[in-house]
């Protein structure tokens, strides 16, 4: 199967995709978007979170064919410029809050937090917890992840992301 899709606003094609492949496999192994991580293959951990046509999904649970002609946003698409130090507001907040340890869950959490703040720029703690309940982190106990989302939200001052 030939797969055509848009990733981070650029068109891509993948040839020879077989039916059993996941969107995650296509992103990582065929297109080189290594930001989405493979940690559970069951949609339990959120490490592979991407936005598909405006909906937050676990890329491991999306069959490649379902992503035909779709628009995908990955963590790589959240960086505004090309300089090595360029960071999006959520990425910067995770760094400044000390929310990164091993970092394996980080891309998924950043995509999920970005999606939350896009829809709700001033979430309560309870709303943050609910929105991020699908993203497992084994290192931080989530305390500083909560700090990071609060910090990113504070930077928005209620305005859109």
């Amino acid at each position: 199967m030939r797969l055509s899709l848009t990733v981070n606003s650029r068109p891509y094609q993948a040839e020879g995709v077989w039916e059993g492949e996941s969107l995650l496999y296509v992103l990582r192994e065929r297109l080189g978007f290594w930001g989405a991580k493979n940690a559970c293959e069951q949609g339990e951990c959120g490490s592979c979170s991407v936005v598909l046509d405006g909906v937050l999904v676990c890329a491991c649970l999306v069959a490649a064919g379902q992503a035909q002609h779709s628009e995908i946003l990955t963590v790589e698409g959240l960086t505004p410029g090309r300089s090595p130090d360029d960071l999006g507001p959520v990425q910067r907040a995770f760094l400044e809050a000390g929310a990164v340890q091993c970092g394996f869950c980080t891309p998924g959490l950043i995509v999920a937090s970005h999606e939350l703040l896009r829809q709700n720029p001033a979430p309560t703690d309870a709303q943050v917890r609910e929105a991020l309940a699908g993203n497992l982190c084994r290192c931080t106990g989530y305390e500083k992840i909560l700090d990071a989302v609060r910090l990113a939200a504070a930077g928005l001052e209620g305005g859109p992301l």
Partner: protein, 777 residues
């Protein structure tokens, strides 16, 4: 007592103010790559011409192998090779303490999931299918699954050497001591998984010299190198390891998993080979926390002073040795808790069974014991009619206390103070009538509006040794250089210490900044091109590799000071580093404002020094009495947990956790908090949800759907109180941080659930049925 540094290193404080130095919240050097998704974890590696490996594993916990047929697997298009134990070129077994574990099963399998054959194929799906097509004939045997049974001489032997891997005896004081109040209890800790998020993975690249380069996520590069080289039959110099991005470790990467397999496939095919375990495979691919059964009797006088503790701890090591002997040592020597007890009789056992192999996990033997001794302290407090905090305070260990091993506790041991701090923190407000359903037990499932919900508060203390004990030669190696780059000085730090997420790369850079006064520091990728750093475990790396980096910097500084002294016409002792220059210290004579920039001192080339550094030696313990100075340092923590329990449904909501910990010196305060938060979360998991369910030697829940770890909804707000009392023997006075939070959090939470429900709760994790079931008489 307040948060101050004590005296021995006070002279160093003048150097601690540098931006990004020791004591600052210096940012992680790998942070930007990690938030951008561009940090290369071991599962993100790629090489030109790369093919994929997969592993065929035993479905049986115990069986004799009648035959292996790989012909069908080899016939699949795209399959490059299929290897079995006959293809292991060198030593066919490996192990951290004893090489009892086959690289690939030899004649017999001893646990479900034991690797039997490995394959390499052009893509991961073909490799997976080929592994599934390896045909193995088995004569299935009845597995040894009950550790109590394994202990008996009548039991089937898992290994010809017998089932007991260690019996540690600790004897102190009068074995016949009597007490006014006696309480006994039997406790059980079930099998916990480290559940790191980044699965086992790596890439092996064959080299032109007949050797191999292995890129892998591990906790200890050199112990991997030694074992891989032995099994490949190659000299260590031909097996070069580099650390790739590690997605968490928590003990699970101290043993080998796919290291030898990858190298065998790469050397056989002549191609780079990558392997990534699935989550299910990961549950079979690494050791777990030892399940334990613990029997305790505590005797105390009416005034609440402990008279004796008698205990038996039985740890199920599963099919292979791994680090079981050291886990037994910790459970035994730390097994009465951070208390003064004049009379102790402790027997700690580790046994082989056909259950999944167990080894290192954060807390390493101390976790299991702490759940039992802290449960006992609550039981004793109830029997005495005193509060749990008061009883603990009366018996708390302090500086100068004597351990049951006879070892004197040196340096601050602020056990009572830690307890006082968590006790005096304000309690969270009572559950209001208008509480949102999501803040109640059951959460968004909306199972109660507050009816049937009871609140409980629980306390616990815990402690653990830092570093490797019992006479182990526990050292680290650091290579530090200072050079000129772009007109400024730049320090380079090279060690083999594994950054596993804890922030060791940050700490190494901070120490170099403080010691060499240079803001620019590069921490090179850890690899085996420099000497061993020991393991990233036992809360030891900031202490030991930190100590090595500090010592190597001191040697570099010595060279700089000698050169500067000649130029300035003064003595090296009169010099200090400030503003990236060597300057004459105030009152040093010879003109106090004279200085030489660091860059000028390295104008003719870098100054480089490599140092091997050790903490104070420890001793083995006497095999009959357990007496000996086994440990070099302890870390202490206290936890208070507040829970709401739906007593009708058996659901628990942890409302708040308060913890206090002495870290000696917070090298990076933000990272210290991260360790305490994360460690506490793993303790909450063990208290309430995490259990690898094993029946008949078979794992029932090898997935994140069925093995539950805490989510952000399960974690309560945490208040952390950090003390910095300083260990006079450690670099900067620091104490290992990583494990203490995992130890006392579990019993504190269970104590709170007991307080809310009146149940005994002698087993972790606590299940809903333990809360709502029939009350034991």
């Amino acid at each position: 007592m307040s948060t101050v540094l004590s005296q021995p290193w006070a002279g160093e404080r003048e150097r601690l103010g540098l931006r990004g130095g020791v004591g600052s919240d210096a940012p992680r050097p790998d942070g930007i790559l990690k938030v951008k998704g561009r940090f290369a974890f071991s599962s993100d590696l790629w090489a030109e011409g790369m093919i994929w490996g997969a592993t065929a594993r035993s479905p049986h916990p115990r069986a004799l192998i009648a035959g292996i047929d790989v012909s069908e697997a080899l016939r699949l298009p795209g399959v490059r090779c299929v290897l079995t134990q006959e293809d292991v070129p060198g030593r066919k077994t490996y192990g951290l303490e004893v090489a009892d574990q086959p690289v690939l099963a030899i004649d017999e399998v001893r646990y479900q999931g034991e690797p039997i054959a490995i394959v390499a194929a052009d893509d991961p799906e073909t490799a997976r299918r080929a592994a599934a097509a390896v045909y193995v004939g088995y004569n299935v045997l009845e597995p040894v699954v009950d550790p109590e049974e394994a202990l008996r001489t009548s039991s089937d032997k898992v290994h010809p050497t017998g089932n007991i891997v260690r019996h540690l005896k600790v004897r102190r004081g009068d074995p016949d001591a009597t007490a006014d109040i006696v309480v006994s209890g039997e406790y059980e800790v079930r099998m916990q998984d480290q559940a790191f998020l980044g699965p086992e993975s790596g890439l092996a690249v064959p080299a032109e010299d007949g050797g191999v380069d292995l890129y892998v996520a591990t906790q200890w590069l050199h112990v991997d190198q030694d074992q891989v080289a032995a099994s490949l039959g190659l000299p260590a110099g031909k097996v070069r390891l580099s650390l790739s991005g590690v997605g968490g470790a928590f003990g699970a990467r101290e043993d080998l998993s796919l290291q030898v397999h990858l190298c065998m496939l790469a050397l056989r095919t002549g191609r780079p080979v990558k392997m990534v375990y699935s989550r299910e495979e990961s549950f079979f691919g690494h050791v777990h926390r030892h399940p334990a059964r613990l029997r305790y009797t505590h005797g105390a006088n009416r005034d609440g002073k402990l008279v004796y503790v008698k205990a038996e701890i039985l740890l199920d090591g599963g099919a292979y040795m791994s680090s079981s002997r050291a886990v037994v040592a910790n459970a035994g020597t730390l097994g009465i808790g951070p208390y003064e007890v004049p009379n102790v009789s402790m027997d700690a056992y580790g046994v082989y069974t056909n259950n999944p192999p167990c080894g290192a996990m954060r807390g390493f033997g101390a976790v299991q014991a702490c759940f039992a001794y802290e449960s006992q302290m609550d039981r004793l407090a109830a029997a005495l009619g005193v509060g749990p905090v008061e009883l603990r305070a009366r018996n708390a260990m302090a500086e100068g206390s004597v351990m049951p091993t006879g070892q004197v506790v040196e340096g601050p041991a602020p056990v009572a103070e830690l307890l006082r701090r968590v006790h005096s923190a304000p309690l969270p407000p009572a559950l209001g009538a208008a509480a949102a359903a999501t803040s109640l037990p059951g959460g968004a499932a909306n199972t109660t509006h507050g009816e049937g919900v009871a609140r409980g508060v629980g306390y616990a203390l815990g402690f653990k040794n830092v570093g490797f004990s019992e006479g182990f030669d526990d050292y680290s190696t650091a290579r530090v250089s200072l050079a000129r780059a772009g007109g400024r000085p730049i320090a380079t730090v090279h060690t083999a210490a594994a950054e596993v997420g804890q922030g060791l790369v940050t700490v190494q850079a901070q120490i170099a900044r403080t010691e060499l006064g240079t803001e620019q520091v590069v921490v090179e990728t850890a690899d085996t091109q420099v000497g061993s750093a020991g393991s990233s475990s036992a809360s030891r790396q900031t202490y030991v590799t930190g100590g090595a980096v500090k010592a190597a910097c001191a040697e570099v500084r010595e060279v700089l000071f000698e050169r500067a002294a000649q130029l300035l016409g003064c003595l090296p002792a009169d010099l200090v580093i400030a503003d990236e220059a060597v300057v004459v210290r105030e009152g040093g004579g010879f003109g106090a404002d004279r200085a030489v920039p660091l860059v000028e001192l390295v104008a003719d080339g870098p100054v480089e020094r490599t140092v091997q550094w050790r903490h104070r030696p420890t001793q083995p313990v006497d095999p009959e009495t357990g007496q000996g100075n086994a440990h070099v340092q302890y870390c202490f923590a206290a936890h208070r947990a507040v829970v709401d329990v739906d007593v009708e449904l058996g659901l628990v909501k942890v409302v708040e956790i308060v913890t206090a910990q002495d870290v000696g010196k917070a090298i990076n305060p933000s990272a210290v908090l991260g360790q305490i938060h994360g460690g506490t979360a793993q303790g909450l998991g063990l208290a309430l949800m995490e259990e690898i369910q094993v029946e008949g030697g078979r794992v029932k829940n090898a997935s994140f759907t069925d093995y539950l770890i805490p989510t952000i909804l399960d974690m309560p707000p945490m208040r952390v109180d950090v003390l910095e009392l300083g260990d006079p023997f450690a670099p900067y006075g620091l104490r290992g941080v990583g494990e203490a939070p995992t130890i006392s959090s579990t019993p504190a939470i269970v104590a709170a659930v007991r307080a809310a429900t009146g149940r005994d709760l002698t087993r972790v994790p606590v299940r809903p049925e333990d809360i709502i079931g029939e009350v034991a008489s």
